[in-house]
């Protein structure tokens, strides 16, 4: 083909393509250009819709509020078009009874105000701009007006709404015309739960269902109330999953313990505890929660009258209104809730994140709570109160699981059924009835009912099939077609042979194939066997920088020390492989491999394997006595949900000491070497490092409490313990963890504490600060994680729901007490960094009433700092650490001169990027221009530069110049004051100040993108253990990020990678071609030269 012809052909092809694109766009505007074959139609109306439209009793007007396509993020761009197409179809079918209009409130301020008056609000959506996360505030809402009835508003219409939008709109009209009562499925024992039915009856339709006994949940049920469950079987879990997947919600309330009554023995009340039969562990595990085993005792407890006197029952926990947090829900009980012998609930952060739930503790026990083992025999109430137990604070007793997927239902778990029982509902002065009302108001609200009625688009679940059935279907699906084709081929071949006769002159390909297959089977089998056999020899080369495949030097040293009297006996207590969930099947092998390496390093080691299923009752009791408890887990295995009781532990014995490592989650396996090395360390030293953890609960500012609650006659809530997961992680890692109660008169930090961890100091901090300074002065170590602000996005009706950002002060007060004297400052400014991350946070939307509604929306603004590993200073704290998210962090500065005078060395450990700026907030919202970039000085951006987000201070800490606490009569004299000379200089202490507490909260600690648990473990190990052991804690593969990269540079790199990736082969090919051509050209000449010679 000539060049001219090729050019013409190319031009014709381009024109044809353009024509096609144009034609497609034109066709897209035609009324019915598509055929929708699925059961769910986007724009094609079904008969039911048409008949309902035909029967509309009044005019229906739908107003769509959509931002212009160009302002929408990519995933929302096609929404308006699809909605318009549907509305057009509805309008055509309704014969004048249905109209619609689509407006863009961004175009006209009046429109935005009009929308705001109707409760229509824009929302923030995440977008990607120039290879970085960004957010856009856009409109994508529908308001349905039907005659004189109140408008129904569907906010945040996205692509996920489209498949059900037709039904949603029709159901919205139906709901407006004929509101239906929600249906509650009540699954509860026949006795003791009659009043709840009466309480629900006026508002709902109650259906008693024998769910426990195996009955199916009614199809039309909107809410399941499962009270005092018994044994939990896979079918219950499957049914619950399906129920929640369909958008319905469930409340499960029950305790593993039961109090059968109180006996009066020698004038003392003796409770009769018994197992209730409720297997909480598998149920809670299925949803990412864990039961806290033991008896919960609380200083705030219910009272009963026995023998004419009031007796306080510490196991009848009273959760007062202050210990409840219903902020994310509409309404609150606003009174006491009682939980009799509850099973405390603990969030399993890692599993929750994996399952897509977010746990919110609605009610918890008080600050003065304890957990103790269930007494073996009769124990009086007085003795329980006297002996108390392990101090724990704010144990969650009522937990809401909020799904990441808004189409899924909510799950609420209560640690006891008391609030729903007849006994509880009759308790005077309690808010149990109000609690039921609040749950109804939120879980079967009109908008939830609309979702229920419209239905959630999910594939139909499969019917229950046995293993043979599944195998048969699998075989049919995979093998049917190949079998048919093979049969056809064989038949055709047979026929051909018959017609032509065998061909002796040619080797049959089939015969060749068969011979090759036989060769392959033998040769391949030998190769695979050789590879498998060599795997046991452990011959390997570790190319990684940290040599993670080999034990650390400290681990080897500890192994070498395990000889003679300290010889090590290891017992692997694992359920047999076939009984373990799939993800755990490789764990025994990994433990064995590590033990083998220890042996190779010099440990005298005997390894035994125990299969608990082979043991009798006594054997299992012996395991329990040694601290090896079974784990109750649920697992999805091959289309089935199974409940398994498994053992997964390693028992180490040496020198008469025993350590038990329970390996129950991925985190345990991830840090297996550290946990093992730390256990060896404990076996050899006989000492378990002690951590004292102080934390406060999140609470509102006085202004918020007054404005939003107290003026309405409501109790202002405080959050539950937000650092429980962090404490659990440290305890699981092998530390002794003590929760320290904050006592306003003076907090007692255990004198033997190796490390004090203080999560988010909050006003008033002196009672903790004083003993902390004492601890530092005594040469102790401390980790303080504090930030000044918690930035809340808010949308107010009066401002057209424009998003504003309010820094909620956290009042850590360490910016004004003691630390400034030393020269350490946690700067009270809002910090911004171009190097940022994105997150989904609660946005307060003030639609009606004083209490705002909470909506989860995207944030991607520069106060969500991303601390890049490229900006970490090499140190045991930052070793093996990937990037960290520091939302709303504060930064740390210090006075070098003053610190030097005091002999304190400062090391910045985690730093921001260079592109930071800050805002000295005094009140009000953050100015919008500061969200876009730094303020300008002389026309240039005033960058703050690189600042420290975490710093380590080592040296002798001085006494405060003024006493932090008032002296108490007969108590210890306060530290500091008029006689500083009298105070000894103090031993060198270590303080790690982290300018963010948010990463350590329950819902963020195990964020898969930013593992704050790694930072916490590193920091604690570095401060509480010796350097070598701390280095073992930090051994993990970590993806380290890079510093801020400007958008232009990002674009350049993209071009380089794609361009050079394509150009390189071309260049090499051309080079090779030239080389070969050159050689060929040279060779004839060579030949000629030879001939001439």
């Amino acid at each position: 083909m000539s060049r001219y012809a090729a050019l013409l052909l190319g031009a014709a092809l381009v024109l044809l393509s353009l024509n096609t694109v144009f034609a497609l766009r034109v066709i897209g505007h035609l009324p019915e250009p598509r055929l929708e074959l699925g059961r769910v139609k986007l724009a094609q109306l079904d008969r039911e819709t048409e008949s309902r439209l035909a029967g509309l009793a009044a005019d229906a007007v739908v107003t769509g509020y959509f931002s212009h396509r160009s302002r929408m993020p990519s995933h929302l761009r096609r929404v308006e078009g699809e909605v318009r197409r549907l509305l057009e179809a509805l309008e055509r079918a309704a014969a004048g009874r249905f109209r619609y209009q689509i407006v863009d409130p961004d175009e006209e301020p009046d429109l935005a105000r009009y929308a705001a008056r109707r409760g229509v609000a824009p929302f923030r959506a995440r977008s990607v701009e120039r290879d970085a996360y960004s957010e856009r505030t856009v409109w994508s809402s529908l308001a349905v007006a039907y005659g004189a009835r109140p408008e129904v508003v569907l906010n945040g219409v996205g692509p996920e709404h489209l498949p059900r939008l037709q039904t949603l709109l029709i159901e919205a009209l139906e709901q407006a015309e004929r509101p239906r009562r929600p249906v509650v499925a009540l699954a509860a024992p026949a006795q003791g739960f009659a009043l709840i039915e009466e309480l629900l009856a006026p508002h709902t339709e109650v259906v008693r269902v024998g769910f426990q006994e195996g009955a199916e949940l009614p199809e039309g049920a909107d809410l399941l109330l499962w009270l005092d469950p018994g044994a939990v079987e896979p079918r219950h879990l499957r049914a619950l999953d399906r129920f929640l997947d369909r958008g319905r919600s469930a409340v499960v309330a029950g305790s593993e313990l039961r109090v059968d009554g109180l006996d009066l023995v020698a004038g003392e009340a003796v409770p009769r505890f018994a197992a209730s039969g409720f297997a909480a562990a598998p149920l809670l595990h299925h949803f990412g929660l864990r039961p806290r085993r033991g008896l919960v005792l609380d200083a705030r407890a219910e009272q009963v009258e026995i023998g004419g006197r009031a007796v306080e029952l510490p196991f009848a926990v009273r959760s007062i209104a202050h210990n409840q947090d219903f902020r994310t829900l509409r309404g609150q009980p606003n009174g006491h809730l009682a939980f009799l012998a509850p099973t405390a609930l603990a969030p399993d952060g890692e599993r929750l994140a994996r399952l897509g739930w977010r746990a919110e503790a609605l009610a918890s026990s008080s600050e003065r709570t304890a957990l103790r083992p269930l007494p073996d025999g009769p124990v009086s109430v007085e003795r329980l109160a006297r002996e108390w137990g392990e101090p724990v604070a704010h144990l969650p007793l009522l937990v809401l699981l909020r799904p990441e997927d808004p189409w899924r239902g909510f799950a609420v778990f209560a640690g006891a059924s008391t609030p729903f029982s007849d006994q509880g509902l009759l308790m005077p002065g309690h808010a149990h009835r109000a609690l039921v009302g609040v749950l109804l108001e939120n879980l079967v609200s009109p908008d939830r009912l609309l979702i229920h009625r419209a239905g959630v688009v999910r594939p139909e679940p499969l019917p229950e099939l046995g293993a043979p059935g599944r195998l048969a279907w699998r075989a049919a699906a995979v093998l049917a077609l190949p079998a048919v084709l093979l049969a056809v081929a064989a038949a055709r071949r047979g026929g051909r042979r018959q017609r032509r006769g065998p061909r002796a002159d040619r080797v049959s390909p089939a015969r060749s194939g068969a011979a090759a297959a036989a060769l392959l089977l033998v040769g391949g089998g030998l190769a695979l066997a050789a590879a498998r056999g060599l795997a046991g020899l452990d011959l390997r080369l570790d190319l990684s920088r940290e040599r993670l495949a080999e034990p650390a030097p400290e681990t080897r040293r500890l192994a070498r020390a395990a000889t003679g009297e300290r010889a090590l006996a290891a017992e692997l207590v694992f359920t047999r492989r076939s009984g373990l969930p799939p993800q755990m099947r490789g764990w025994p092998g990994r433990v064995r491999e590590l033990l083998r390496r220890l042996e190779r390093a010099g440990a005298e080691l005997t390894v035994a394997t125990v299969f608990p299923e082979d043991l009798d009752e006594q054997g299992r009791a012996r395991l329990a006595a040694a601290g090896v408890e079974p784990l109750e887990l649920t697992a999805h295995e091959e289309e089935e949900t199974r409940v398994r009781t498994v053992y997964s532990a390693l028992v180490l014995r040496s020198g008469g000491r025993t350590e038990v490592l329970t390996l129950g989650d991925d985190a345990a396996i991830e840090s297996l070497e550290f946990r093992l090395a730390f256990a060896l360390h404990r076996l050899q030293t006989g000492r378990r490092p002690h951590l004292a953890v102080v934390s406060d609960v999140p609470r509102l500012t006085p202004a918020e409490a007054h404005e939003q609650y107290q003026t309405q006659g409501l109790f202002a809530p405080r959050g539950a313990d937000p650092y429980g997961v962090a404490r659990g992680l440290l305890a699981d890692s092998g530390f002794r963890v003590t929760h320290v109660e904050v006592d306003p008169r003076g907090t007692e930090i255990p004198r033997d504490a190796d490390l004090v961890i203080w999560f988010q100091p909050r006003r008033r901090v002196e009672p903790v600060l004083e003993p902390l300074v004492r601890h530092l002065r005594a040469g102790g170590s401390a980790l303080v994680a504090a930030q000044h602000f918690n930035i809340q996005p808010r949308q107010y009706r009066g401002t057209g729901f424009r998003t504003v950002y309010w820094p909620q002060p956290q009042t850590p007060e360490i910016d004004r007490l003691y630390f400034p004297e030393v020269g350490i400052h946690l700067v009270r400014e809002v910090l911004f960094d171009e190097l940022r991350t994105a997150d989904v946070t609660e946005t307060q939307v003030a639609r009606t009433g004083p209490r705002p509604e909470m909506e989860r929306q995207v944030q991607a603004l520069p106060f969500l700092l991303r601390a890049s590993a490229a900006n970490f200073v090499p140190h045991p704290v930052t070793r093996g650490l990937g990037d960290q998210a520091f939302p709303w962090a504060s930064y740390v500065t210090w006075d070098e001169e003053r610190l030097e005078r005091l002999g304190i060395a400062a090391i910045p450990l985690i730093r921001s990027s260079e592109r930071t700026w800050s805002f000295a907030w005094e009140g009000g919202w953050i100015p919008e221009e500061l969200l876009a970039g730094p303020p300008l000085e002389d026309g240039r951006p005033a960058w703050l530069g690189r600042v420290a987000l975490a710093a380590l201070f080592e040296g002798p800490f001085p006494a405060p110049s003024e006493p932090l606490l008032e002296p108490e009569e007969g108590g210890e004299p306060p530290l500091g004051g008029e006689t500083p000379a009298a105070e000894p200089a103090g031993a060198p202490g270590r303080l790690l100040l982290v300018g963010a507490s948010e990463p350590f909260k329950n819902h963020r600690l195990f964020d898969p993108d930013f593992r704050a648990d790694h930072l916490l473990l590193n920091a604690v190990a570095a401060l509480a253990l010796d350097e070598e052991l701390a280095a073992v804690a930090a051994r993990r593969p970590a993806a380290r990020g890079f510093d801020y990269v400007a958008p232009e540079r990002r674009l350049r790199w993209r071009v380089v990678v794609l361009g050079a990736g394509a150009a390189l082969p071309v260049a090499i090919g051309l080079g090779l071609g030239a080389l070969l051509a050159g050689r060929w050209r040279r060779r004839p000449a060579l030949g000629r030269r030879r001939a001439a010679a």
Binding site: D131, L537, S578, G882
Partner: protein
């Protein structure tokens, strides 16, 4: 060595002789040594790739596709490591590699030049290894297309060079194995499409038997026997590849890749030998 290339080489006067009969001639040159023979075949095969559009289209398309997928999330994830690339390729290579290997022998058979090739004074093993080396070189060229990513990582951050080296070694071994069984399937099938489809299917079998979900489901079919785990530990390419990506090169992995590749090449030789006889 595809037919046109072989023919062209035969006609080139003074070209590097492979000892074949010159048309009309009677004398035959001495057969080349083993390595020289392999090098000759490889060079001719490679030249045939670059004389046509195969090498350019293949490497550019594959490199751009793989690099684009990696770059799509790279700046959003913000991690200075190549693990995302190394995780991605096992899902792409079962498509990419049979595209090279499918023509190795199937085209010779289709063009009826295999007989010619097998009558040349080189041993089948030399022809097999030569073609295999050329295919490996082409695959290496595709891998070279990812070197700008390495450059970018070192320019922006501080990646672990050991992990990158381990990852590349894993990719080379992975490719060597897939090309070896691709060559066998090409020799067996005689049709490029069949060779491609079967190569992709077998490739995915090697990869998917290392996938957690697949292992769990297969184990669930016979819990006492645990066929999924058995396949994972004995057959799948993934545990060996993953070890390399983690920077750990185990002797068992080298034996797995090396021995299996050798077995596949040996079987290819066996098939060709049968074809010749």
């Amino acid at each position: 060595m595809s037919a046109p290339a072989a023919g062209a080489a035969a006609e080139r006067p003074g070209g590097e002789t492979v000892g074949h009969r010159v048309p009309g001639g009677t004398a035959a040159a001495a057969p080349p040594g083993t390595w020289r023979g392999i090098a000759l075949v490889a060079r001719r095969e490679l030249a045939s790739y670059f004389d046509s559009a195969i090498a350019y289209v293949y490497t550019i398309a594959c490199a751009v596709l793989a690099n684009s997928i990696f770059m799509n999330e790279f700046f959003l994830a913000g991690a200075a490591d190549m693990s995302a690339y190394f995780d991605l390729l096992p899902l792409l290579l079962p498509f990419f590699l049979p595209a090279i290997s499918m023509r190795l022998w199937a085209e010779e058979r289709k063009q009826r030049t295999l007989e010619l090739l097998l009558t040349l004074p080189i041993r089948p093993l030399q022809a097999i290894l030569g073609k295999y080396a050329a295919a490996l070189a082409l695959y290496g060229l595709f891998l070279a297309g990812s070197l700008p990513i390495v450059a970018m990582l070192f320019a922006l951050g501080d990646p672990d060079p050991g992990l990158i080296a381990g990852g590349y070694l894993g990719l080379v071994l992975f490719g060597a194995l897939f090309l070896a069984f691709g060559a066998l399937l090409s020799a067996l099938s005689g049709d490029q499409i069949v060779a491609f489809v079967t190569g992709t299917a077998v490739g995915f079998a090697f990869v998917l038997t290392g996938h957690d979900r697949v292992v769990a489901v297969l184990d669930g079919l016979a819990p006492g026997w645990a066929p999924g785990t058995l396949l994972y530990e004995s057959f799948s390419v993934m545990p060996h590849y993953d070890a390399c990506v983690r920077g750990v090169v185990e002797l068992s992995s080298l034996v797995y890749f090396g021995a299996l590749s050798a077995v596949f090449l040996w079987a290819t030789g066996f098939v060709l030998e049968r074809y010749r006889t």
